[in-house]
Symmetry: C2
Subunit: 290 residues, 2 copies
C-alpha cells in the first residue's frame, strides 16, 4: 500500500507510543514534518536528538492550524485539557487520533471539549507493549503486525476514519473496529482484570511477615503470573478508574468463579476440579497472541 | 564435591522427574546401575533406548532388597500403593525419596504404609519445570542450580538425610529443608493458588459466547498470566486436593483481597488503588527467580 503523504504531523507526548508513531511514519517516508509537544523539555530535546521529531512545538495555535494529523499520546488524564487548548485553532482539514488504553472516557471528553468538531477526532487504541516508556524506548517497528483498535464516532466521516486508519497502517498496524463500549468491555476482560488480579496477589503477599521466605520458593509459574504486577501504578490506577464499570462487572464474575472453585475444593469434588482445569487448558493451549 | 558412589538406584516412573534424576547421576558417574519401573512398557523401552535406565525392573522384591536409593517419581496418587509393595522387601540400608509437589500427604502415606521403616523415607520436592513430561523430556541438567526441598521426618537419621541430600546435590540441586506443613503452606501461596487463579480466569472466559472475540484481543499480559492454565488438569486436580486445607486458606485470603480492591474501585478511591499497585510493584520489581 502506498501511503498518502502527510505534510505535517503534531504529536503530544513523544514517549514510547508517540515517538514510535513518528519513527514509523518517517521510516515509511510518509511525513514531511513532525512537531512534538510535551511537558518535559528534556524529553523533547532527547526526541530531537533521536530524530523522532523535527521541531519542538512552542505554540499550539500556530502548529495545529495546518496539521494534517494530531496524535494525543499522553496519559488519558491529560487529554481533556489538551483538546480544550487545541480545538479553537484546529484546521478544518486536520484530524486527531489518540493512543489511550480506554476509550469511553476519551470519547466522553471529545464530546465535552470539541463540540461541533468532534467528527475530526477518530479514537484509537494501539495494542503494543507498555513495559517500557520514554522517548529512548520508541522504535519504528513497535506497531509492525500489531492491532490498532479504532472506535469511530457517528460524527466521523468515512473519509476521516480512512485517513486515520491509513496512518496507523503505514506504521505497520492491522486495523480493527469496535464501538467504545465494546472496546472497554473486551479489554476489561482480557487485560484490565488480569492486571488487577496480578497486583492483588503480590499485594496480598507483601502484607505478610514471611514474604521473603515465600518469595524465595516462588518459581517460573509465579514469575509469569506476576510479571504484569510490575506495571506502572499510576497508569493502571487511571485505566482501572476510567474503565471502572466494566472492570467491576468482570471482578464480580471472577469472584463468583472463585467461590465456585472454593466450593468444589471444600467438597473434595475431584471431577469438577478436573473438568474446570480441563476446559481452561483446552482453550488456553489452542490460543496464542496474534 | 565428590559424590559417593551409588551401586544401584531404582526409579519408579521414568518420566521428566525420574528420568532426569537418572541422567544426572549417570553424567556425574555417581551410579553403577539404574533400574526402572513403570506402568507403560513403551515408556520403559524408550528410557532404555535413551540410556536413562540400564535395566527394566520386572520384580520389585529382588530389585529393592539391595538398592542404595529408590526414587518414587510417579504421580503422588500412586505412591501409597508402591510403598506397600516395596516395604516388605526393602533392604536395611536402602533409602527412599520422592519427587512429589505436595508433602503432607506423602508423609501421611509413609507412616501408613511403611510403619517401622518410615525412617528410611526422606521426602523431597524438586522445584523444576513441569511443563513437559515423558522420558523424552528428561535432561541431565534439569536440576542444575534448582532447589530441592527436603521435608525430613523425625524418624530420619541425620545420615539418611545426608545421603539423600547428597544424591540430589550430585544432580546439581541446592538443598533446602522445611517441615512438610511449612512446605505445603509455602507452595499453596506461591504456586498452587496462582495456578488455580489462572485456570479460573480462562475457565470463566470459556463459558462466554463471545470468547473468540475476547481472545482475539488478548495480548502479552494475558499470555503470561494464563501460561500456567495450560498445565496438566490431572496433576493439578491431585495437587489441589492433596493440599486442600492450605489452598482453601489462601483462596479465602485472596477473595478478601479482591473484595477490598472491588470496594476501592467502587468508591473511586484513586489513592488506595495506586498505593496497592505501588506496593505490589515494589515487591515484584525487586524479585526474580533464584
Amino acid at each position: 500500500m502506498v501511503a498518502s503523504l502527510l505534510n505535517k504531523v503534531v504529536i503530544f507526548g513523544v514517549g514510547l507510543i508517540g515517538g514510535s508513531f513518528a519513527l514509523a511514519l518517517k521510516r515509511a517516508n510518509a511525513v514531511t514534518t513532525v512537531v512534538g509537544f510535551g511537558r518535559s523539555e528534556a524529553t523533547l530535546q532527547e526526541a530531537m536528538q533521536l530524530s523522532i521529531i523535527d521541531r519542538i512545538g512552542r505554540d499550539i495555535a500556530t502548529e495545529v492550524c495546518d496539521a494534517d494529523l494530531i496524535l494525543l499520546a499522553t496519559p488519558v488524564g491529560q487529554m481533556s485539557d489538551l483538546m480544550a487548548r487545541i480545538v479553537p485553532f484546529l484546521g478544518a482539514h486536520s484530524l486527531l487520533t489518540d493512543g489511550g488504553s480506554t476509550k469511553s472516557d476519551v470519547v466522553r471528553e471529545v464530546y465535552a471539549q470539541m463540540g461541533g468538531k468532534a467528527g475530526q477526532f477518530v479514537p484509537a487504541h494501539p495494542i503494543a507493549g507498555a513495559e517500557l516508556s520514554g522517548a529512548a524506548a520508541a522504535r519504528a517497528d513497535l506497531y509492525q503486525g500489531k492491532k490498532v483498535v479504532l472506535t469511530p464516532l457517528p460524527e466521523n466521516s468515512a473519509a476521516a476514519v480512512q485517513r486515520v486508519a491509513s496512518a496507523w497502517q503505514t506504521c505497520g498496524a492491522n486495523i480493527h473496529q469496535l464501538s467504545c463500549t465494546e472496546h472497554d468491555a473486551v479489554f476489561a476482560a482480557v487485560s484490565h482484570l488480569p492486571h488487577l488480579l496480578s497486583f492483588a496477589l503480590v499485594h496480598e503477599l507483601a502484607q505478610r511477615d514471611n514474604r521473603d521466605l515465600l518469595l524465595s520458593y516462588a518459581a517460573s509459574g509465579f514469575r509469569d503470573f506476576t510479571r504484569i504486577a510490575a506495571s506502572s501504578p499510576e497508569m493502571w490506577r487511571d485505566i482501572c478508574l476510567a474503565n471502572r464499570a466494566a472492570l467491576l462487572q468482570e471482578l464480580q464474575r471472577y469472584i463468583a468463579e472463585l467461590t465456585q472453585m472454593s466450593a468444589a475444593l471444600e467438597a473434595n469434588d475431584a471431577q469438577r476440579l478436573e473438568q474446570t482445569f480441563h476446559t481452561a487448558r483446552e482453550l488456553r493451549a489452542g490460543w496464542s497472541v496474534k
